[in-house]
């Protein structure tokens, strides 16, 4: 009988106030690609920390190839043959690929002809990489390859991948999967952490599903549908957003005209001649890989970074290009930034103060310079009630809410102000599936009332779910929007990678004009 490569039994970890892992069992066989699936906060990262030796469990056992094993530090883990590719890379921009790899591995491995070994491994596994390139010149996908190659140099027998595809184009995802499959055929076990269900079905042999610190199910993904796995993950029947029949969209409510912005941040992305319209009753999605100008576009639309000419941004006949957020709110715009804590909300402040933060003008919460506290609290209570925010009360601080609840609160705050135009960046980033579904539904419903909705997101599934039209942002350029029914995932992937539109589909899909 073959021993499992890794077997966890009865892993339990108590954090102050949270049982992060409760009696978790997990078994991975040699060559198996095993998915660890769960919402944010389900306990996946905690569990992985034990395997990689970053933290110690309160109780439970780790067996490595049949033998009881203490993994007391990442060094021990690496010696055993456990490699990990983190979601956030640890790379030095000003160093070459080779130098980056050499500082991240045990000194013995860094000696000798490292560059040749890097080239060899990258060829063997289809991970093209030039050891002499500087990291700052590489795309995110290429940077991830450095991390993967760094792990592979150490001939791992278990490779842990934490949300590896969140920064990749669909094409890059396919390449990565090829590499992972060939590793698996050589007998390397892979623990694949994700919440992207279709990927798990495509790639993984087995899946362990966690919810609130416990293993709630194990399954063979090939026998499941994304929906059935999502339901196991959430413990409830998943409600796909309902959308009314495609309506004829109304007049243009948001116009972006020849918008160009030179980023003030040296690592920022310049926006180059962006043009699009969003109509009343329409959801326009903007897809793109992280770091291609999404933040800069959001800043330019919200007015946090005003642009050079008034005509660049027009909200319902109000030219607001040079105005700040307050004027744009007065013109009927609402917006939800990417960061909940510290940008969309003040973490240490109460919910009612955070309701006041953006609602002061439109909800008349200000009286001769003084805050109308009762009205602000009423407004906050309305948000809590209508958007089903779980909190003991509006006196509680924003940072006491879970990510999903706070995001619902922030969306509620903007939507209850009745915006004519709303711009949102990464609306469901790090939000549990239940809240994400509620937020998407709220955006579709808002469009149903005649608002123009612009969703900038890296999550393609989400964009296909909510959008009427989709455009792609790549290196600060936004492609012309196309109707969802008229564009495929592959086409979007090419646009995301910066490969210009194939001529066959160059026609514009716009409504009525």
């Amino acid at each position: 009988m073959i021993e499992p490569r890794l077997e966890l039994t009865g892993i339990t970890k108590q954090y102050p106030g949270v049982l992060a892992n409760n009696n978790v069992n997990l078994k991975i066989m040699p060559g198996e690609i095993h998915a660890l699936l769960g919402e944010n906060g389900a306990g996946k990262s905690t569990l992985v920390k034990f395997i990689y030796g970053v933290q110690k469990a309160d109780s439970g056992q780790i067996r490595w190839e049949g033998k009881h094993q203490e993994v007391s530090s990442p060094n021990v883990a690496r010696k055993l043959g456990i490699g990990m590719v983190f979601q956030h890379f640890s790379l030095f921009d000003a160093m070459t690929v080779e130098e980056n790899i050499s500082v991240g591995i045990v000194p013995e491995l860094a000696k000798g002809d490292l560059a040749n070994r890097i080239t060899e491994i990258s060829r063997q596994y289809g991970l093209p990489l030039d050891p002499q390139r500087y990291v700052h010149t590489l795309s995110v996908g290429e940077r991830q390859r450095i991390e993967v190659v760094r792990c592979l140099l150490q001939s791992p027998r278990l490779l842990i991948m934490d949300e590896p595809t969140s920064v990749l184009t669909p094409q890059e995802v396919r390449e990565l999967f090829k590499t992972l499959r060939s590793l698996s055929e050589e007998g390397v076990s892979i623990l694949y952490i994700s919440h992207k269900l279709q990927e798990i079905i495509d790639l993984c042999h087995n899946a362990t599903i966690m919810r609130m610190g416990e293993v709630v199910a194990t399954c063979k993904p090939e026998n499941e549908t994304p929906r059935s796995m999502a339901e196991m993950m959430m413990g409830a029947n998943l409600i796909a957003p309902e959308r009314p029949d495609r309506r004829m969209p109304g007049p243009v409510r948001l116009t972006v005209n020849s918008l160009s912005v030179v980023s003030s941040n040296q690592h920022g992305v310049d926006l180059k001649d962006i043009n699009f319209d969003v109509h009343a009753g329409e959801v326009l999605g903007v897809a793109g890989i992280a770091g291609n100008g999404q933040r800069e576009l959001m800043d330019a639309l919200s007015g946090e970074v005003p642009v050079d000419a008034e005509e660049c941004v027009i909200i319902d006949d109000h030219k607001v290009g040079r105005s700040g957020p307050t004027d744009r709110r007065n013109a009927g715009m609402g917006f939800v930034p990417e960061e909940r804590l510290g940008h969309g909300a003040v973490p240490e402040m109460s919910l009612w103060e955070n309701a006041f933060l953006s609602g002061a003008q439109s909800m008349s919460l200000l009286d001769k310079g003084f805050i109308r506290t009762r009205e602000s609290a009423d407004y906050a209570s309305n948000i809590v009630r209508e958007f089903n925010v779980k909190t003991p009360g509006v006196e509680n601080a924003a940072n006491s809410l879970s990510g999903g609840n706070l995001q619902k609160f922030i969306f509620g705050r903007e939507i209850l102000q009745g915006p004519g135009v709303i711009v949102v960046l990464q609306p469901t980033w790090g939000v549990d599936a239940g809240s994400a579904a509620a937020i998407r539904q709220a955006l579709i419903d808002l469009a149903g009332t005649g608002a123009a909705v612009l969703v900038i997101s890296q999550d393609l599934e989400e964009l296909f779910e909510v959008s009427d039209r989709i455009a792609v942002i790549c290196e600060g350029v936004v492609s012309s929007p196309r109707a969802v029914s008229d564009i495929t995932v592959d086409e979007i992937g090419l646009l995301m990678a910066g490969i210009s539109e194939p001529s066959s589909s160059a026609r514009e899909a716009t409504y009525g004009h």
């Binding site: 102050p16 640890s90 973490p347 006041f356 805050i371």
Partner: protein, 364 residues
């Protein structure tokens, strides 16, 4: 093995307000040790230092006289500190405020007008504001560090003072001492407890505490100040103008420091002399933090700090200890306050440093 600080999961709200009390207690204990080493009976010394100054009505009124400038300045500084505007130059703003207010008293030396005093107050406030406007302008326009600019302007301000009283403002009948003439009654703050030095400046300080409490808790300016301090991005999101808040914070703190300077020269001192303040502008920084940047906390912290000044005097007279004892006590208090603030938020762990996944070694 290394000592490291780990963030505590849950920070107790009670301990945030308790930490000043812990700091005071630790200061007292250290004081006992300090006095023992200096060869005086520790309990007697503590009594002399902290109790005897306030064992009479006279003592209390002196405490309020000393607390007045501290509270005024610290309330102003708290505004800025909450918005991450670090005005360290209140001592300079105090000096220029004193010169502006006192200069008016000298200019209208013979005037017998009830308007003189209000005019001096306004001049004092404007003087402090003008001095604080320099760091505000440099910060909003050129992004200079206001800690440096405001601090350096303290020394410029003191030199301006020195030049004036050695030159143009020197008293004609002062036997060449570097001092101005004594202000007339019309230019002197009225005393409201007879037979003492307690002037109406204390009442004004109390009113300022109350007003700024209301502004911080309920007014949009207080809200903007807090949001900019806690989450600058959220302030941008809300459309608050950061430069405006920087200006407001520096104008409030500069204005109140200038006002405090005017009150000193027009109240207890009664003239312009080489030393207007025994470092109130700097001590007020401790007061602001000890009072948790809250106006009411600042009121009590200001009184405690005033007590260290009085206690230092008493220790000199009765115990023959050097005046540096005052500074030592103030320093210890700030040190313990910062330490207990850290320990409220972090816990000390002994052991190997936190696991680092990749050790950055020297690149070849």
């Amino acid at each position: 093995m290394a000592i490291r600080l780990e963030p505590r999961g849950e920070v107790s709200q009670g301990m945030i307000y308790g930490s000043p009390l812990v700091a005071v207690a630790a200061t007292l204990v250290s004081g006992l040790v300090l006095f023992a080493i200096l060869g005086v009976s520790p309990l007697d010394a503590l009594f002399t230092f902290f109790i005897s100054p306030v064992s009479s009505l006279d003592g209390w009124t002196e405490l309020f006289v000393k607390a007045t400038p501290l509270v005024l300045i610290a309330v102003g500084l708290s505004f800025g500190f909450q918005a991450n505007v670090w005005n360290i130059g209140a001592e300079g703003q105090l000096t220029i405020g004193a010169l502006a207010g006192g200069g008016l008293a000298l200019l209208f030396f013979e005037a017998e007008s009830v308007l003189l005093l209000p005019a001096m107050m306004i001049a004092g406030i404007l003087g402090g504001m003008a001095w604080a406007a320099i760091p505000a302008f440099l910060k909003t326009k050129y992004n200079t560090n206001e800690i440096l600019t405001s601090l350096m302007l303290v020394y410029v301000g003191l030199l301006v003072l020195s030049w004036l009283i050695h030159g143009p403002w020197k008293s004609p009948d002062g036997m060449n001492f570097p001092e101005s003439r004594l202000f007339h009654d019309q230019a002197t703050l009225p005393v409201f407890v007879s037979e003492t030095r307690l002037h109406i400046g204390w009442l004004i300080a109390l009113a300022v505490v109350l007003t700024s409490w209301i502004v911080m808790a309920r007014h949009i300016i207080g809200f903007q100040v807090k949001v900019i301090g806690m989450a600058p991005m959220a302030a941008r999101f809300a459309g608050f103008n950061e430069n405006k808040v920087i200006w407001i914070a520096l104008m409030i703190s500069g204005g109140l420091a200038g006002f405090a300077g005017m009150i000193e020269v027009s109240g207890p001192i009664g003239k312009i002399q080489p030393m207007i303040s025994p470092g109130y502008g700097f001590t007020a920084i401790i007061v602001a933090f000890l009072g948790r940047l809250h106006p009411v906390g600042v009121l009590f912290a200001g009184m405690l700090m005033a007590l260290t000044y009085l206690g230092g005097d008493a220790a000199q007279i009765e115990l023959n200890l050097p005046n540096a004892v005052t500074g030592v006590f103030q320093g210890m208090l700030l040190f313990y306050l910062l330490a207990s603030d850290v320990l409220v938020k972090y816990q000390i762990r002994l052991g190997p440093s936190a696991p680092i996944v990749f050790k950055a070694g020297p690149s070849k």
